[in-house]
Amino acid sequence: MDDPFVIAGETFGSRLIMGTGGSPSLDVLEAALIASGTELTTVAMRRLDTSTPGNVLDVLRRTGVRVLPNTAGCFTSAEAVLTAKLAREALDTNWVKLEVIADERTLLPDPIELLDAAERLVDDGFVVLPYTSDDPVLARRLEQVGCAAVMPLGSPIGSGLGIRNPHNIELIVDQAGVPVVLDAGIGTASDAALAMELGCAAVLLASAVTRAEHPARMAEAMRHAVDAGRLARLAGRIPRRFHAQASSPTQGRGDF
């Protein structure tokens, strides 16, 4: 089935975006990235020297995965904008996954700083993919300032709690004119499938794979889950009924 995933005019064959955080080694990461089938992977730029040979960027180069720099660890709009600009110079890409975190305990986005940074970066020519809370109003504001996608959390980063408010995700999908990427909170394959069933265009995850006992195996599970969820969304699920409805004919006549 030809069902490409398009962000800002760029087409991707995979709807699974990976993160690199939490991986025990570069070899484990590489095996997981290959098993996931991802074509786009986000890397934290705040504490990465891009010129050192043998680092995580080499893994992405070798596997042919496009790098999406992120601003993880930034608490203010100013820090995030600066980090994005440094990443653009170092990696020669104007794409950025924008993260502005409110506090270390929850790692929830700071909506005020996020919107401010998003606007500044869009004005400066960046393709901005913001990590946001699952607030439909904030998602709309981010789209209005020109973000190329919105990336609401399912639950806090690294929590593995899945999608805590599926209805909000549906509301965001329903109104969005840009791709919605479920970012953060995925614990296992069914969470990723649910995100796609809710209408998300893609799923972004890291810990669920990198901290799994068998990262490559979990990455493969996520690849299938994203594909399955996407197919189910396109197939159109049946309405929910309170009582049973037999699938085989119970009367004298077939019900074809």
Binding site: P24, S25, L26, E30, V59, G158, E213
Partner: protein, 354 residues
């Protein structure tokens, strides 16, 4: 043939040039000299040398990750050599090396961290290793300075520690007493060195040196910031304590002289060795959550070291060319694996030069 004007030892086939004067290079030099080989160590004393910053944990068990069974097995093999290695080195050098056998206590600060610790116990059990799971109260009986917030613990008596700076000095003395020569100078190329065999043990600097003879080594520096504190009373901690605080790992290693080493960050910043405000703050913040009294200790030093990391976290110990043996990429485990590395490299040297 040696290059013209190159530093030259002799044509004796038992000549060995060890590049790197950290714990790996010096352990190899000592053991090789004991076997009667003619050994020269070239020691550049680089800023950021891992042996100078390392805490010296001999702790493969509490270090275990689910994907790293091979590294655990190697670490356990290395750990078994340590008691004899320590005793022999102390005798050979006449120096103390701060070898401590009080064990390691891994602690969890809250229920989320406990889930991680329980997972470690389960993984260890899967590898056939028992560790004692402790309640909050049992954990704090072992180390009363731990915060009442501590939720649980895991005691691993066989995870020990040593003081890497004393170890380095003792190894220098023992290597020299065994007949090795140690030269203080920086080598920028391996091309000009032509003894019968070169042993490359230059940590994260090995990559650039290997390239000078056309060999690719996938070793990269990973910076670790470490604090040295001093406990005048000497009663702050009995054994190594490691913990996960809101997802980040820290450790505190006590020494016999009251020193407490607190580490460590993990940063992919090339050969940068700066100490940052954020690094110091994060270490103290997390340590204080585990041990509120830590801020009463005397601040002695903040330093960073460069771990030589490989892509799979296991070291590279192999013959890379006819006249070149590589011993690097020990990552977080250089001190732990020094005796084992020396044993393997010397076996390789003797096998060829005998």
């Amino acid at each position: 043939m040696p290059a013209k004007g190159a530093p030259r030892v002799s044509n004796d086939p038992s000549d060995v040039l060890v590049v790197g004067g950290g714990v790996i290079g010096l352990s190899i030099a000592w053991r090789a000299a004991q076997q009667g080989l003619s050994v020269t160590v070239v020691d550049a004393s680089m800023a950021g040398r891992a042996s100078h910053a390392a805490a010296g944990m001999l702790a493969p068990i509490t270090e275990t990750k689910p994907t790293e069974e091979a590294l655990l097995r190697l670490g356990l093999e290395g750990q078994r050599l340590w008691p004899d290695f320590a005793a022999e080195l102390t005798a050979a050098s006449g120096m103390e090396i701060g070898y401590r056998t009080q064990g390691t206590l891994a602690v969890a600060l809250d229920n989320d961290d406990k889930a991680d610790l329980d997972r470690l116990a389960k993984i260890l059990a899967g590898f056939g290793i028992d560790a004692d799971a402790l309640t909050s109260r049992e954990t704090r009986q072992l180390e009363p300075m731990l915060s009442p917030d501590v939720r649980s613990g895991l005691l691993v008596p066989s995870d020990h520690s040593v003081e890497p700076r004393l170890l380095t000095e003792a190894l220098r003395v023992a290597a020299q007493r065994a007949g090795a020569t140690i030269e203080q100078r920086e080598l920028t190329s391996l091309a000009a060195t032509k003894p019968s065999t070169t042993v490359l043990a230059a940590g994260c600097w090995s990559r650039a040196l290997a390239r000078t003879v056309g060999i690719d080594l996938d070793v990269r520096p990973v910076k670790g910031q470490v604090l040295r504190l001093h406990d005048a009373g000497g009663r702050f901690l009995t054994r190594t304590v490691r913990g996960v605080v809101n997802g980040s790992s820290i450790y505190l290693v006590p020494r016999g002289d009251g020193e407490v080493v607190l580490g460590a960050t993990q940063e992919e910043l090339g050969h940068d060795t700066t100490v940052t405000a954020g690094g110091v703050w994060e270490l103290l913040r997390d340590a204080r959550a585990l041990l509120p009294g830590v801020t009463e200790l005397t601040f002695v030093e903040a330093i960073s070291g460069l771990r030589p990391m490989t892509r799979d976290n296991t070291p590279i110990i192999k013959r890379a060319a006819e006249d070149l043996i590589v011993a690097t990429g020990h990552g977080r485990n250089g001190v732990l694996l020094a005796p084992l590395t020396a044993e393997r490299v010397v076996a390789e040297l003797i096998g060829v030069t005998a």
